[in-house]
């Protein structure tokens, strides 16, 4: 199938930032599509982070990071309701013991105050215990507006809402080249075809410098830094109530820490190591060992039998051309290239700031194009109703309406067949096992799919009429099976339930 389409705006990169831009542009009358190189929207950094809703005190006053963190934090209550995504304003403790750390925390508090972060305070031992009785520290910077969210659910929700409001999503469409046509429009080539558009928004995450060069802004570079995490069993959450960060060191680096997740797990990490290639997502023995050893000394819940799995993310640390100093977000919109917006350096707090970033970019386009508002834009999107979160009466009603709710598929996370089927029929058309994982949490439990994966594969095959050979873990190269043990000659697509 050769893709050949014309749009008013193409967004390159469907992560949390790109999908937020898509959703904000959908508020106007403008034909938009998102080109995403992976098979789903949350495969890059959007899912590879701690899932923290930052308060905004970590960022230089006057920076875009500070501005968007504070705005995104304040707006999240509303966003989470509209998009039906979970979040919790847990507050956060940044703890310290030494005088040096106290100084640095005081500086952070002042910075936060200037940035407009509400209710920051330095608290002592007793008050710390009231916030989280597990925490031992002399003092802490307490930020009550900090919180936790599910980064991949948020990204998926943004994308689904954008899609339902008319944005097209094309997956496994990595952009290979961009050419400016005579009429000023862009022709964008991917492996699957060519699309034309007046505007290009570059929100390609780690690929943004490469795409920026294609768009005429060469010379940007990232200094890729790998952060590795270990995910702990839900039992570890008995040892932690709120995110607890150590005070940054003299160089401003924060060492690894434990963070409760919105789903009830605990994340240990991230580590922080320079890497050569920004596509090197392998976890490493050294970092994992470090997390286990150091983690055990700082967090009581760090027990090896509670380790569920590990993963890594590459932080797109943005480097000034010619130097190595880290920079602020760069939202480049140059008069020489008026129909291009490059989003560079979308490291933390781009997750927290995704909504105001999206709005900022959409406003640029809307102002320049004098776009009319799309009155049929619906900001609300409903997520998949979780059987596991309902009370008994509701669960009974759900089963009565749809007996598929009575079939527990993922026993670790209590995900039912009805949810798996709903996830498979998602608005974005994603049919991979990981797609189901991110939308339902199936396979994320302690058995890592040991019980449910065979069932999920059968449901995918049944529901979508696929051959076993076509079932994918994530993108089209991640085949799970090589075929049948005994060729049934494809005589029927029956898959008896087991």
């Amino acid at each position: 199938m050769c893709l050949r389409k014309v749009y008013d705006a193409i967004i390159i990169g469907g992560g949390v930032v790109g999908s937020s831009v898509a959703r904000e542009l959908a508020r106007y009358h403008i034909k938009v599509c998102v080109l995403e190189k992976e098979a789903d929207v949350c495969c890059g950094n959007s899912s590879r982070n701690t899932g923290v809703l930052h308060a905004g005190f970590l960022y230089k006053t006057g920076s875009l990071q500070a501005k968007f963190a504070v705005e995104g934090n304040a707006a999240f209550e509303q966003i989470s309701k509209e998009l039906d995504v979970p979040y919790k304003r847990t507050g956060k403790l940044t703890i310290g013991f030494t005088e040096g750390e106290r100084e640095r925390l005081l500086k952070l508090k002042s910075q936060g105050d200037r940035n407009g972060v509400p209710n920051l305070s330095i608290i002592g031992r007793d008050e710390i215990k009231q916030v989280d009785p597990n925490v031992e520290a002399e003092f802490a910077l307490y930020s009550p507006t900090s919180g936790i969210m599910c980064p991949y659910m948020y990204t998926i929700a943004l994308a689904e809402n954008a899609k339902l409001n008319g944005v097209d999503y094309y997956f496994e469409n990595e952009v290979c080249s961009v050419k400016k046509e005579k009429d000023g429009a862009f022709s964008v080539s991917t492996a699957k075809g060519r699309l034309y558009s007046r505007w290009i928004i570059n929100s390609a995450g780690l690929g943004a410098p490469t795409v920026a060069a294609m768009l005429g802004s060469a010379g940007y570079a990232y200094k890729p830094v790998k952060g590795e995490y270990i995910l702990l069993d839900k039992r570890a959450i008995e040892q932690i109530r709120v995110p607890v960060y150590p005070a940054p060191d003299e160089k401003g680096v924060t060492d690894l820490h434990a963070t409760p997740t919105i789903d009830g797990n605990v994340l240990m990490g991230p580590t922080c190591n320079d890497v050569v290639q920004s596509c090197d997502l392998d976890t490493t023995a050294d970092s994992l060992d470090y997390i286990v050893k150091k983690g055990a000394s700082i967090f009581k819940g760090m027990k090896t039998e509670w380790i569920i799995r590990s993963f890594s993310g590459i932080m797109p640390r943005f480097v000034e051309r010619g130097t190595s100093g880290y920079l602020d977000f760069l939202i480049e919109h140059h008069p020489d290239n008026p129909n291009v917006v490059n989003l560079l350096g979308m490291d933390s707090p781009a997750l927290t700031g995704a909504y105001p970033i999206g709005k900022y970019v959409a406003d640029i386009v809307a102002a320049q194009e004098k776009l009319a508002k799309n009155n049929s834009f619906d900001p609300c999107r409903k997520g998949i109703k979780k059987f596991s979160e309902q009370d008994v009466e509701t669960r009974c009603e759900m089963i009565e309406q749809n007996p598929d709710y009575g079939e527990i598929v993922c026993r670790c996370e209590y995900v039912t067949k009805a949810e798996i089927v709903e996830a498979l029929n998602n608005p974005l058309g994603v049919t991979s096992v990981n797609g189901i994982k991110y939308r339902t949490r199936a396979t994320m439990g302690r058995c890592q799919g040991g019980y449910c994966e065979t069932r999920i594969a059968s449901i995918i095959q049944e529901s979508k009429g696929l051959d076993r050979k076509d079932i994918r873990l994530d993108n089209s190269r991640s085949y799970m099976f090589t075929g049948e043990v005994r060729e049934s000659c494809g005589c029927s697509t029956k898959t008896p339930s087991l």
């Binding site: 043990v485 005994r486 060729e487 049934s488 005589c491 029956k494 898959t495 008896p496 087991l498």
Partner: protein
């Protein structure tokens, strides 16, 4: 010629030593008669049983497990597998049902080891 061998007849997995002395096989370390028989065969004509699956049409399961009801010469295993792979059964199938009689002339039948009923029509 001496050889060490592990008996596979039962989970005890006794370690035995066998050697050919004056044209006769001598065995040490066996704990039971079956072990001795195993050792004797292993040196002359090693025998094995295998288990695999056959395709079932219209069954509540796509495959029925089968096994050999007697050991066969080890060297015939893949020939036997070839025969079994060509089999296609129609549900229902029952435990004990003979799928292939005296497969490859090795003195063993291939028998079904699980009941597979007929698939229920989908609503």
């Amino acid at each position: 010629m001496t050889g060490q061998l592990i008996c596979i007849v039962c989970p005890a997995g006794c370690e035995m030593t066998a050697c050919i002395k004056d044209g006769k096989l001598e065995v040490w370390g066996e704990k039971c008669k079956r072990g001795l028989e195993y050792a004797e065969r292993e040196f002359t004509n090693p025998m094995r049983t295998i288990a695999t699956s056959v395709l079932v049409d219209n069954g509540e399961l796509p495959l029925a497990p089968v096994r050999l009801d007697n050991p066969v010469p080890k060297k015939q295993i893949f020939n036997i597998m070839r025969e079994i792979k060509a089999v296609r059964l129609e549900a229902p199938v029952h435990i004990g049902q003979i799928v292939l009689s005296d497969v490859c002339g090795c003195g063993s039948d291939v028998v079904v080891t699980k009941n597979v009923g007929r698939a229920q029509p989908r609503l």
